[in-house]
């Protein structure tokens, strides 16, 4: 449950940013609540470069990135086409 406490707020932010995501997951990589792996598959990424795709994820998580909630973030994104 501790794990979910850490990942749930991030998940909520990502669901808000990518409401039509086909796949969306947030994993607390170390169990420490500050190293995360985020995976998003969404049509929103179609036609965008990886840099642009990751920027959208960073944008969605700007607050927890800025306040230090996220110490380390690994991102995996994919379009649906």
């Amino acid at each position: 449950m501790l794990n979910m406490l850490a990942t749930e707020p991030l998940r909520a932010l990502l669901e808000q940013a990518f409401p039509a995501a086909e796949e969306l997951s947030v994993v607390d990589r170390t169990g420490g609540g500050d190293h995360f792996q985020v995976t998003v598959v969404s049509g929103r990424f179609d036609g965008l470069s990886l840099v642009e795709q990751h920027r959208l994820v960073y944008g969605a998580l700007a607050a927890p990135l800025a306040d230090g909630t996220i110490h380390e973030l690994r991102i995996s994104t994919k379009g649906t086409r």
């Binding site: 840099v51 960073y58 700007a62 990135l65």
Partner: protein
């Protein structure tokens, strides 16, 4: 514009491959920086490494310039390629080598060309 910002811009635009990392190539202070470096090395990239740790302003100026919030950051001929995840993904698919050849020419591999640049304004 700050002197530091100018220096960073100069490095980004003039170095064939610039890696802004935490620590130095022989002693990376962060797993993601080590991953990005390993991916670049696997593709034979002539890496110029810049340590962002000596001064927090380096990170601030760099991220303001690149609109990329995290370290490491990899640039090829001035273009932001991405952080550790993207560079690793591109290395695994062979896309990184293609990009390097396209930007720097087919003979971009220069063994022993890895170097470290320090920001003097920091």
């Amino acid at each position: 514009m700050s002197e530091l910002r100018t220096q960073i811009e100069q490095i980004v635009s003039s170095e064939p491959v610039a890696l802004f990392m935490k620590g130095k190539p022989d002693f990376a202070m962060c797993g993601n920086s080590a991953r990005a470096l390993a991916a670049l090395r696997s593709a034979g990239a002539p890496v110029t490494a810049i340590d962002v740790l000596p001064d927090p302003r380096i990170r601030q100026e760099l991220s303001a310039l690149s609109s990329w919030p995290t370290i490491p950051q990899v640039f090829i001929k001035g273009e932001l390629i991405g952080g550790a995840d993207i560079v690793q993904e591109l290395a695994e698919t062979g896309e990184l080598e293609r990009k390097l050849a396209e930007a720097l020419g087919d003979d971009y591999r220069a063994p022993g060309s890895e170097r470290v640049v320090a920001l003097t304004a920091a």
